[in-house]
Amino acid sequence: MTNRRNVIAIMAGTAVAATATACTDDSGGSQNPEDVAMGEFPRNQTLYTTGAAWEPPGDWNPINTGQVTGLNGLGYEPLFLFDPNEAVLTPWLAESGSWTADLVYEAKLRDGITWSDGEQMTAEDVKYTLELGQIEAVPYHNIWNWVESVEVVDDLTFRVNFSEARHQEWDNFLYANVIVPEHVFSQYSEEEILTGANEDPVVSGPYTVHSYAQDRIAWVKRDDWWATEHLDLEVQPTYIVDIVNTSNEVTLNMLMQGDVDLSNNFLPGIADLMEGQPVLTTYFDGPPYMLPANTAMLIPNTTIEPLDDPAFRRAMAVAISPGEIVDTVYGGMVAEANPTGLLPTWDRYIDQAVLSEHGYQFEPSQAAAMLADAGYEDNDGDGFVEDKNGNPFEFKLNVPAGWTDWEEASRSIASDLRDVGINVTEEFIDAAAVDDARTSGDFQLILNNWSGVSHSPWTHYRYLFQLPVNESQNDANFSRWESEEAWELVQELAATASDDARFQEILSELQRLSLEEMPAIPIWYNGVWSQASNSVWTNWPSEASDTPDAFPCTWNEMWRMGAIYMLTELKPAE
C-alpha cells in the first residue's frame, strides 16, 4: 500500500523519468499495462464516494473512533446487522444467537470466515474482542458493568454470562461493535490498542485497504469474502475510493464532472440542481429527498432560569417554526421532527394517544399565551418577557461558525423566539468552543443532533435523560435535566427485550415524560445526505419499489445498518 509520503520522491523521480520519456516518445507510457498495475483504477470498476471522512485516513483501529471510511463495514464487521425497516437484528458474522437463559446469551459464528491474512475467525476472536472492553479506556468498557464473563464453547460458539440482562444495550453491542482478530491485536500493547493506527488492518469484510493519501482512501475487493458463499452476496465495485470531505463547492463540481458517484454530505440546493442534472438522484424524488438520519434538537441548559421550567420550554417549542427552517434553510431537503423526537424508523413505537394529548405544533399566539399562563410577562415593556422574579434575561443560541445550514437555522429559531417575546440572539462561535460549552454546560441554548438512527429508541432516551449529570457531559443529556423517574425507565428499558409487552409501556411513558418536561426541543430530522450520480453506477437505493431500500450511505455507522447491501445491489451503467 502506497502512502503520500512517497509522492515527494516520486514527483522528483517522475520529473526525471518524464523528461526522459519526453525526449524518447511524446505519446507517453500510458498504454503501458503496468501503469494500471501501478494503480490506475478502471472507472467502470470503481466507486467514488465522499462525505463520510472529515480527516485524512490515518486510523485503521476499530477500537477507538474517528477511523477511515468503511473500516467498520467494508473491513471489520459486527456479529449482527440491524435492519431498520424490520427493526430487527439480522445475523452477519454470527449465524445465529439467542438468550439460552435469563442471564446467558449464546451465539454461533458462520463457518469458514477467513481474515484477510488467511487465518480463520473463531469464537476466540469474539471472546478476545469482548474482553478488550475490560480495558478502561475502551469505549465499550461499560458492558462489563453487567457482563460477567465470556466462554468459548467450541471453535464457532461462544457464551456470554450476564450479571444483569440489558437486552437493548447488549443488542446495541451486537451490531454496533466489530470483531477484531485476536492473533493481530494480542500483539499490541495496551496503548497501541487504544490509540495505535493499526495500519494494514487484517479484516473479515468484503474489502481491504488498497492505498491512501491525505485526501483519499482506496479499498480493493477481497475475493474470499465469506458472505459470497454463505449469503450469495457479491459486492459490485472492485475498487472504492473515498474522498475526504472538501467544500460543498468542490464536491458539487466533482459530482457534476462525474468524478464522484455518491456524496454523503449536505449539498445546498441539490434539489434545484437535479432539475438540470437528470443524472443525479436522491432517495426520494421530492421533499424531503433524504432519509432521516438523526434529530436536530434545541438544547436548553436547564440549570438556569427560566430554562429550568418545563412550561417555559414547552412554550418555546410551540413558538419555533420547524417549517420555516425546512423550507428556507434546507429548501425542503429535511423533514419536520415529530414532537416526540423519535425518528420515523421508530414510528411503530409512537403512542398516538400520548402524542395527541401532549403533542404540539407551531402557533406563536398560543406560545405567547402559554408564557403568560406560566407567569412570564413583559412588564418593563422592552418587548421581551422577564423571568418569574421580574428580571429580564437574554439568551444566546450558539452554533459553530461556518456550519452554514445551522447558522441559518439558528437565525430562524432566534427570530421565532423573539417574536413571542423570548429574548434570544444567535451567536456563531468556534466549533471547538461549542464542543467545550456543550461538554462543560457553559451555555444557554445550543443545537445538537447526536440522537440518530439505531436499533432501539432506548438510545434516544438515554441521550435525553442519562443520569447522573457530571462535570462534563460527553455524549448525552446536554440539557442537564435531572428526572430520576425518566432515568429509571430508561434503565428498565435497557433491560427489556423488544418483544416484551413492557417494552411499549415504558416507551409510552417516556414519550409522555419527554413531551411534558421537554428536556430538549426536537426541530427537524437531519437527512442521510445522499446525492448519487447514475453516470457510472445505477440502481441506487430509493423509494422506488424496484430498487434496494438500504441506506445509500457510507457513514461508518450506516454499514452495520444495511448500507453494505447498497454495494451488492449496484449495477454498472450501460
Partner: protein, 331 residues
Amino acid sequence: MGRYFRRKLLIYGVTFFIAVTINFAIPRLMPGDPVARMLTRNSVANPETSEALRSYFQDLFGLDVPLWQQYLNYWSALFRGDMGVSIYAFPSPVADVVLDALPYTLALLLPAILLSWFAGNGLGALAARNKLLDNTVLPVGYLFTAVPYMWLALLLVWAGGVLLGWFPVAGGYSFALTPAPTWTFFVDLVHHWFLPFLSLFVVALGGWAIGMRNLVIYELESDYSNYLQALGAPRRLVRRYAFRNAMLPQISGLALQLGVVLGGALVTEVVFAYPGLGDLMLNAIQSQDFFLLQGILMFIVVGVLIFNFLADVVYVLVDPRTRLGLEGGQS
C-alpha cells in the same frame, strides 16, 4: 560581506525564536480545549472512561506540566523534529502530515512566484519604454493585483473545470491514480497543478510589472542615465543599464513578496482542494487542531526564512554596492 550575513542571520534567528514563541503562546492563550475535543470525538459514554482518556491525552499532548516546562519541552521537541500529534489526522504526527502537504505547496508557490517575477519584470520594463503598453498593460496589471486570489480561482474552476471541463476541479492528482513514477502520473500531476498555479501567477504578475515599470522610469531619470545620454550613448545601452539596476530592488522585493504570494497560495489551495499546506491549514482550523496549525506555521516560517536568505545571497552576488559597501569601501 561577512558582517552583512552575520547581521541577516541574527535577524532570521530572532524571527525564528519569536515565531516559535508566538506559536507556543497563541494556542495556550486561546479558548478551545483540544483534549475535550478528542473526548467528544471519541464520544465516550461513561465518566471514568473519559477521565482515563483525558489524562492519557493530557500527557500525550504534554499539557499536564507547568507552562515554563511546556515551553522548554516545546523547544527540545522542536529540535527533535517532533511537533506533537495531529488531532485532525490523529494519530499521525504533525511533522508527517505537514511533510505530506509541503511538496504540493512548493510546487505551486515556487514556479508561480519565480515565473511571475520574470514575466512581470519583462512586462514592466517594456511598459516603461512604450506609451501604448504603459496605458494598456498596466491598468490590467493593477486589476490583477487587486483581484482577491480566491475569487479569481473560483472563476477559473468554474470556467476551466465545470463549464469547459478542460481541467480537474479538485485534488493534487486524479483520484483514479496512486502515485507512481510514470509519465501518466506526472502528466496528471501537472494537469491538476495548472489552474491553481495560473491563478497565483496572474495575480502576482501585475504587482511585479507595476513595480518594475516605475523603477525603470526612475533609473532612466537618474544622473548616470543623463550622463550616458549626454555622451550620446544609444537608448539601447541606457535602457540596458537602467533595467539592470532596476532589477536589484526587485530581487529583495522577491523575498518580501513571498509572504504575500504564500498567503494567496493558502486560499487558492482551499478553492481547488489542492492538498497543500493551505488546504491543510483550513482543515486544521475547522477541527481546531492547533498542533497541526502550529506545525504548518512553523514550516512556513522556516521556509520563508530560507527563501529570504537565498534572496540575500543572490542580492550580494549581483549588487557590487552591498558587496563592496560592506567590505568598507569608501563613499
